[in-house]
């Protein structure tokens, strides 16, 4: 019964999506207030029904209702409750439902916080979001119904893929999806602007906070995903350039470019058509990512069970949404750009460079991701593009970008005098060069040109990011301090610096060793001694494991005791490596248990990873910077101004 309610609620949500898109869009076109006012309530209604549907699926998982095919395929009675919930989005059908739920949440948020928007604008934005939701709901109902029954029901489920039985997985897809889906808001704003055929600075001011919010979620989601891959996949890497990772990274790059381009559009009214194109691209890349993951067109460790019918549906959807947007763009964008100029040395130039470099990086990754497919289709043979290619191709545009960030953020709008800029930046520049050469040499005992270039870039961004906040802190009393949006920028860029430094140090100075160890034996890696003190069998709720006890000492002093496991999940009979990690701010010690080598010996993978935490910490700081910027007065001002006018109106005459 409950699954049928869920199914039915989904159909109702589909009907409401039709109302939510058709009526407000026609209303906005005809300037019919009654039709436009359908937008908000329809969005709320849709959210309610999608939430009911989602709750029904979650309930089926919690009850282990194996008459539901999706539950039977992805759950098990012995699965802990938290993973039963996580299993809801552990595979294709449920993750689509999550996607739709998040889209409905974003839509309601837009409806709720858009009352200062011109009515036709908000009606169009919500209408476009309704169209997207319609597409996804139709896709779910036609090809991927999560409530399909399985009669007779099996006695027990096939269990959740053990890789996914982890807290990192339980939380990272919802956050990642929130980011993905969030770009639909910027997309809808862009479509709405193109429908009206006019785009002003107010438009950029409305679009900006939504974009920043989506970008923040995407940043955190990618960082968590990378962290999950690091400790769960068991071989100590943190980014694999897997198609699915790339699928999340491309919208991030486009979104980052969009945030910067929006800044120019908001402050100076420039780059309008460019901003529109980026808004379309960021969401299109999210859709493309979905297509790549769901259609099985590329091989990936993350790919869900694939089905050509689904692939075809998403492809048609992709064609309509992106193709439609691009045609609209070709029609409207040419008339939009204004002719205001700027000097070569100005903030605008640097933001343009930022955009160009980010778009190049994004295109390179898109090419690398699609190249295997391209070669296959044209029968040029099979190729596989690996991490070394991506690392090199990605570093090419990124290195100049890291150096330019520092200059760009201290350059004035319109025009900047070179002397003043140089005077500001010479001290941080000197600090960065000295630290970038000294830190690798002194702390890690080796000088290398590439390492130093990377470290200089990292220190450079970090130090220049401190300039504005420091100046604001030491300002004369009574003068205005730094704005939230400038502070947010400084913080986010500081994160970029930490991230750059982390990547540089970890890729240059990681020590990895695969060794054969017997119980009682001690091995040395990177100055740490690892002693395998014991090996035990342990029993988990739905797995058995062999657990090693490893005592780590440095210079005879106890550092940590780690317990890596080699698990066998009982239902799927698949072995899983649970690495154990001793995390520190300046280094991780990573231990994973390998296979038995005979004679009591075990293969063990031991790694010393300096500054690896800076990678994720840097990403989180970037996201935190976004949070600060999104809370800028400017964006809240609209709300207060509205309350102000409302109060005025209520005053007796």
């Amino acid at each position: 019964m409950i699954p049928e309610i869920g199914h039915f609620a989904l159909i109702l949500a589909l009907s409401l999506a039709v109302c939510q898109s058709v009526m407000p869009l026609i209303g906005a076109h005809r300037n019919d207030a009654a039709l436009m006012s359908v937008a908000g309530p329809a969005a709320v209604g849709q959210l309610v029904f999608v939430a009911v549907s989602f709750a029904c699926l979650a309930w089926s998982f919690l009850q282990s209702d194996f008459t539901v095919l999706y539950v039977a395929n992805h759950s098990h009675r012995a699965l802990p409750d938290v993973y039963k919930i996580a299993a809801v989005w552990g595979a294709h059908e449920g993750s689509l439902l999550l996607w739709i739920l998040l889209l409905a949440v974003w839509t309601v948020a837009v409806a709720r916080y858009s009352s200062e928007l011109p009515r036709a604008m908000s009606a169009r934005v919500i209408g476009v979001l309704g169209l997207l939701s319609f597409g996804f709901l139709l896709f779910t109902l036609l090809t991927s119904n999560p409530f399909e029954r399985l009669i007779p029901a099996p006695a027990n489920g096939a269990d959740l893929n053990p890789l996914l039985q982890d807290i990192g997985l339980a939380i990272h897809p919802p956050i990642l999806y929130t980011g993905y889906v969030g770009f639909s808001v910027a997309f809808a704003f862009a479509i709405a602007a193109m429908l009206t055929g006019h785009l002003d600075q107010a438009w950029a001011r409305w679009t900006r906070p939504w974009t920043i919010w989506a970008w923040m979620f995407l940043t955190v989601g990618i960082a968590l995903g990378s962290w999950w891959a690091y400790y769960e996949l068991g071989w100590g890497g943190w980014w694999f350039w897997d198609p699915v990772e790339n699928a999340s990274f491309m919208p991030w790059l486009a979104g980052t470019a969009l945030i910067h381009s929006l800044a120019v559009t908001e402050k100076r009214g420039l780059f309008k058509s460019w901003t529109l194109l980026l808004a379309i691209s960021a969401f299109s890349l999210s859709l493309l990512g979905t297509f790549l993951v769901r259609s099985g067109i590329l091989v990936s460790v993350h790919a869900f069970a694939t089905d050509p019918a689904r692939g075809l549906f998403i492809l048609i959807f992709l064609g309509i949404v992106i193709g439609g947007a691009l045609i609209l763009y070709a029609w409207r964008a040419p008339g939009m750009d204004s002719a205001a100029g700027f000097r070569p040395l100005s903030r605008e130039t640097f933001l343009l460079l930022n955009n160009v470099l980010l778009v190049i990086a994004c295109t390179v990754i898109l090419y690398g991701t699609l190249a295997p497919l391209l070669y296959d289709v044209f029968e040029w043979g099979k190729i596989s593009i690996g991490p070394p290619w991506f690392e090199f191709a990605f570093a090419l545009p990124m290195l100049p970008l890291t150096l330019l960030i520092g200059v760009g953020m201290h350059t004035a709008w319109r025009s900047q005098a070179f002397g003043a800029l140089f005077a500001q930046l010479k001290i941080p520049g000197t600090i960065a060069i000295v630290a970038g050469i000294a830190v690798p040499t002194v702390f890690y005992g080796r000088f290398g040109l590439l390492v130093s270039v990377g470290a200089i870039a990292g220190f450079w961004i970090m130090t220049v990011s401190l300039l504005q906040p420091l100046r604001s802190w030491r300002r004369a009393p009574g003068t205005p301090g730094i704005s939230r949006s400038a502070l947010g920028m400084s913080v986010a860029h500081f994160g970029v610096g930490m991230f750059t430094l982390g990547i540089t140090i970890v890729s240059a100075f990681t020590v990895e060793a695969d060794l054969s160890v017997r119980p009682g034996e001690t091995v040395e890696v990177a100055g740490y001694s690892f002693k395998l003190t014991d090996l035990n069998n342990v029993q988990g709720p739905n797995y058995q494991a062999l657990e090693g006890e490893i005592e780590i000492r440095k210079d005879g002093k106890f550092v940590a005791e780690l317990r890596p496991q080699k698990r066998t999940y009982l239902v799927q009979q698949s072995p899983m490596t649970e690495a154990a990690i001793d995390a520190g701010w300046n280094r991780d010690l990573f231990v994973a248990l390998g296979d038995p080598l005979g004679n009591d010996a075990w293969s063990m993978r031991l790694q010393y990873k300096p500054l690896i935490r800076f990678i994720w910490l840097g990403a989180l700081i970037m996201a935190f910077g976004g949070l600060i910027a999104a809370s800028d007065r400017r964006y809240r001002l609209q709300a207060t101004a509205r309350e102000g006018t409302a109060a005025l109106r209520e005053e007796p005459a």
Binding site: F291, I297, A330, S574
Partner: protein
């Protein structure tokens, strides 16, 4: 205007490539072993650890070598078909039971039937590495000269047998005659 048109054209081309790509199977990876001698091995049998089986057992014969495991869903899918194929006596099938548990493998063969002339027990997957196995099931066609003629990834069925294996077998037997 031209640049906007170019944008749309680029997008249409991309969609076209995707549409073409949908029909293709990305798991069809060529094996570097094609037309090279099949790796040699000698392993205990699943049915009796005291006996061994290996590449010398089928020297001079054209055979199928099927990589299977009890934990693999695709192997279960193809099992029925392998039994049927073995029943037709068209070609001997040798199994390599890959990274598996012997008890599980034994009960699998006893309960579902045994299509194999013999199954080697590759407990730690070393032989699988030599053969370049990246996921069970995989089926290799080995020529009478001991060369790998074809590798199929994924479950076997009549369509693959008729479409991929038979033409190669016919070409080979025709050539040697």
């Amino acid at each position: 205007m031209a640049r906007y048109i170019a944008l749309i054209v680029a997008f249409v081309i991309m969609i076209g490539i995707f549409a073409a790509g949908l029909d293709r199977d990305p798991t069809k990876l060529p094996s570097p072993l094609i037309d090279k001698p099949a790796p040699e091995y000698e392993l205990p049998r699943v049915m009796d650890p005291l006996l061994t089986t290996g590449s010398t057992d089928y020297a001079g014969q054209m055979v199928l070598v099927n990589i299977w495991a009890t934990w693999c869903a695709g192997c279960r899918t193809e099992h029925e078909y392998l039994l049927e194929l073995a029943g037709r006596n068209e070609i001997p099938i040798y199994g390599i039971n890959w990274r598996d548990d012997r008890d599980a493998a034994l009960s699998w063969l006893q309960q579902l039937g045994d299509p194999y002339v013999a199954s080697a027990y590759d407990e730690d997957g070393r032989v699988g590495i030599d053969w370049g196995v990246y996921g069970a099931p995989e089926t290799f066609l080995i020529g009478a000269g001991g060369n790998v003629m074809y590798k199929h990834v994924g479950p076997m069925n009549e369509a693959t047998w008729q479409g991929e294996f038979m033409p190669r077998i016919a070409a080979q037997t025709g050539a040697t005659r």
